[in-house]
Amino acid sequence: MESIISLGIALIIAPLFPGIILKIKALFAGKKGPPLLIKYYTLAKLLRKGSVYSTSTSFVFILGPIISFAAALMPLLFFPFAGIPPVLSFHGDVIILFYILGIGRFFTIAAALDTASPFEGMGAAREAFFSTLAEATIFVVLILFYRLNGSLSLAEYFSGTPLISLGGGQGALMLLVIVALFMILLTENSRVPVDDPATHLELTMIHEVMILDHSGPDLALIELGAFYKLFFYAAFIACLIKPLSLANPVANSLLFYGLIFVVYLAIGITESITARLKMDLIPKFILTSFALVFFAIILTLELV
């Protein structure tokens, strides 16, 4: 029961955080910014509307939003929010989850190519390339975690011994992992400096250009899916940062969501003070994160 409630809270609260990013960016720019609940308003607006479909598209275009949303929902079912056991968990679930995110991406790309638009094809090509590189980093992280406490599941990472977190036995290594995962978060969720969701030029976009032709509830599904995916990565990093676990579940949850807020704050600050990278620098950016975790693994060579 507890698990379902915590999942429900996460599902409801996830769209709040991207609003925080917008607020922070506005503050940096000296503007007032949109209201905090802006994303809820957007979703409600989209759900009320109808849709326009391109004559070039087929049923794959409709499958895209549904599958990418279903894929973004899955990891949250397995995630131990604030240390509360998740709805489902078993040894090996992380591999499946990252592959399920992969099928979401497959259909997002297919839907983009279905529109016969050169811009969307371009975005799709970039998404396919960059996510492949990001996948390598993610699996290196899994290798490191397996070496640290022999677990292969989201719930085990944050409950097994030794605990995988900054406060655990291998805190120094976690610093490297946190930085690398933050870079992956920026890549996989199309944030600056990899991608700029707010730019007005379709040529420079990655994710945003792929969903140009979606509208109405379809677009709402995509947006909500993107919020969940970002929330999953942010929660992952928050669990790594979390130095201690409080006995009181309410206080513990507050601490956890506070840390998630910190992650989003970091995203907002990054977006405010950096420009987006040139396209050919992005592979290097992602490979840097790979190198960081790889270095962490080298440091564990003497441990086992």
Binding site: V52, S56, M74, H91, F106, F119, F139, L142, P217
Partner: protein
């Protein structure tokens, strides 16, 4: 064993009868398909009885009073026979409508003959139990598949491809026979069971010699060169059979030899892993760079052979380190991937064949929008694409998961085992990512969007038997993905007779198969729920259609669509030192530029190096020996006498 021979006779009847009835083409096709199907069903029943230990697994008889042909059936042969029996009738069914060439009934009958012969020879290869039997069956397999490739024998491309294939397969066979000869010279016996008594260094020589042969059959990098040439030249149902089933015989050979040698040296697994990683990563990178439909699929076969080898390599690594979990999961993942790859690769080749038959276009960048005109082909191909990308909830993921699981077991070990396990995991992750990149390209360019040429626009759905075949295979992929438990148990049953593992404990699996199935079905459930939710959301909402948003540009044609070449370019360029990209660009030089052209081609470095370092020196050397051939008969006879005399003196 008897049941297998009944199956064999059915299959052989399916080979001979079409030749006799070729004047009545329809009868010929029906007889072929029916007898092949009957043979394969009998074979499946035979596998079942053998599994239940109802029949005697060993059989032998004397041939020409000189050699003994002996056969035996164990769990390894069953694991490789299962896909043969399962796929062959489906592929033959597909061939029913695929082979439609007016006035070429004799040719079709001959194709049926060799098709059945190939199936029969694969049966024999898997149950062969001594050197002679294996060698005969292996040669029969190579030759019958050569004639299948040569279906369009009057075309230059087919002749070239067929010759290349013959060259590779015969050179490979030469290496295998050399390995057997080394064994024979040490043991003096033609029996397989003597292999284990060889000294260690001889085992190494035998293994590596045979690895060249088996590797070239399987399409292991860098011995894969024949594959990307043979598949585009061969008819699609032949490609499906060869890529889906036949190249696995190379893997079978490697595993059979490994089990016979029974040597826990870490050199075997390390070699296999390195080859697997190379084939896997480079196979998919080249696939990205290729734009000929069937050539691209051929490179994907190389990639999947790589994945299977990674699984087997991890299994061997588990054996040599004594880690049973790793060994079992590695081998089982490899064996299950053999079945899975057979299913989705045949399906994909069938889809490619249908597109080829209906449009006559092989280059991806001239196709497009086929999902609307070929709905069944498009939908089944999409299923196959998701499956080959290794994504849940389809079957490709299940076997990859088992291999991942094996690799993670190796991470807690020390030294080189850790290093190889880590390399395997990273390679699998990269292969998975690139494969889904490549198949979004194929699906997106060929089946989605708008047609790029008039020929592609006029395509219609393919024949009934072809559609039926694809409609059998696509749900099969989903079935294994969503209910993996019996299939994982089947793969573990395939390890039953693996000598180094002694007995397979089923409890090692734990709840993993159930969990995998649970997640797949949960995902499908969530998908269904959202599908219905979306349907409800769209009730009484205005839905309209118009052209794609062109970012302000309103005069878009189908030619401005992104092409497969540009889609894959950045990914191919990233792997630059291993992939040779040839770009020709005339450039814009004057103020009023004339027509310019741009083209780029991805070259296979294995092919270039082979040509550069082996073929050219070889030709040069042979050229120097030209003086031996002078046309004087008496001197030729002299050569023969001299040779015989020398042989008599030496031996």
């Amino acid at each position: 064993m008897d049941t297998l021979f009944i199956a064999l006779s059915f299959v052989l009847a399916g080979a001979v009868l079409p030749l006799l009835t070729h004047r009545w083409l329809r009868l010929c096709k029906i007889l072929h398909t029916a007898f092949l199907a009957a043979g394969c069903l009998t074979g499946l029943y035979g596998l079942y009885t053998a599994w239940q230990h109802l029949t005697d697994p060993v059989f032998s008889f004397s041939w020409l009073h000189v050699f003994t042909l002996s056969f035996s059936q164990d769990s390894l042969s069953a694991a490789f026979l299962f896909p043969v029996f399962l796929l062959s009738p489906v592929i033959a069914l597909y061939g029913y409508h695929y082979l439609e060439k007016p006035g070429a009934s004799w040719r079709i009958a001959v194709n049926h003959f060799f098709f059945s012969l190939l199936v029969a020879s694969m049966l024999l290869v898997t149950v062969a139990d001594n050197i002679i039997t294996f060698a005969l069956a292996w040669e029969l397999m190579s030759l019958s598949s050569y004639f299948l490739v040569m279906y369009d024998y009057e075309k230059k491309e087919s002749q070239r491809a067929g010759y290349l294939y013959l060259l590779f397969t015969q050179t490979g066979a030469l290496f295998i026979f050399a390995a057997f000869a080394v064994c024979y010279s040490y043991t003096g016996s033609l029996n397989f069971d003597q292999f284990t008594h060889l000294p260690h260094t001889v085992k190494l020589i035998v293994f590596f010699l045979a690895l060249v042969g088996f590797g070239s059959k399987a399409g292991v990098f860098p011995l894969h060169i024949w594959l990307p040439h043979a598949h585009p030249a061969a008819p699609s149902h032949v490609s499906a059979l060869m890529s889906g089933v036949m190249i696995k015989m190379g893997i079978f050979g490697i595993l059979r030899l490994y089990l016979l040698l029974d040597d826990p040296t870490p050199i075997f697994p390390q070699t296999i892993l390195v080859l697997g990683i190379l084939s896997g990563v480079l196979g998919v990178v080249y696939a990205l760079g290729k734009h000929d439909f069937k050539r691209l699929l051929a490179y994907h076969s190389i990639e999947n052979i790589g994945i299977i080898l990674i699984g087997c390599g991890l299994g061997m690594l588990g054996v040599s380190t004594g880690n049973r979990t790793m060994a079992l999961f590695g081998f089982a993942g490899g064996l299950l991937h053999v079945l899975n790859h057979a299913l989705f690769k045949s399906l994909l080749f069938m889809g490619a064949g249908a597109v080829l038959q209906k449009t006559g276009i092989r280059h991806l960048d001239q196709l497009g929008g086929l999902l609307k005109t070929m709905p069944i082909t498009g939908r089944t191909f999409l299923t196959g694409s998701v499956a080959i990308s290794g994504l849940p909830p389809l079957n490709g993921f299940i076997s990859e998961f088992l291999i991942y699981y094996a690799a993670f077991q190796g991470l807690t070990l020390k030294g080189s085992v850790f290093f190889f396990s880590m390399a395997a995991i990273i390679a699998l992750a990269i292969i998975g990512g690139l494969a889904s990149g490549c198949f979004t390209k194929v699906v997106g360019i060929v089946f989605l969007g708008e047609p790029r040429s008039a020929k592609g626009q006029a395509a219609t759905e393919c024949g009934l038997s072809m559609r039926t075949a694809m409609l059998i295979l696509a749900p099969a992929c989903l079935l294994i993905g969503a209910w993996p438990e019996p299939f994982i148990r089947l793969a573990f049953a395939g390890l039953h007779d693996f000598a180094p593992l002694v007995e397979v404990t089923p409890d090692i699996l734990g709840t993993i198969p159930q969990n995998l199935g649970l997640v797949s079905r949960l995902f499908l459930l969530i998908f269904g729920a959202i599908f219905i939710l979306r349907h409800l959301l769209y009730r009484s909402k205005p839905i309209s259609s118009c052209t794609t948003w062109g970012c302000g540009f309103t005069q878009g044609t189908s030619r401005i669509q992104y092409t497969g070449t540009s889609y894959a370019m950045s990914m191919v360029n990233f792997h630059r030192p291993f992939v040779k990209v040839r770009t020709e660009y005339t450039g814009i030089t004057k103020i009023f530029p004339g027509p310019t052209r741009y083209s780029n081609k991805v070259d296979d470095i294995a092919e270039i190096s082979l040509h550069h370092y082996l073929i050219r020196p070889l030709l040069w050397g042979i050229d120097k020996l030209r003086w031996i051939q002078h046309g004087h008969i008496q001197l030729y006879i002299g050569y023969i006498i001299l040779t015989i005399a020398m042989l008599l003196l030496v031996l």
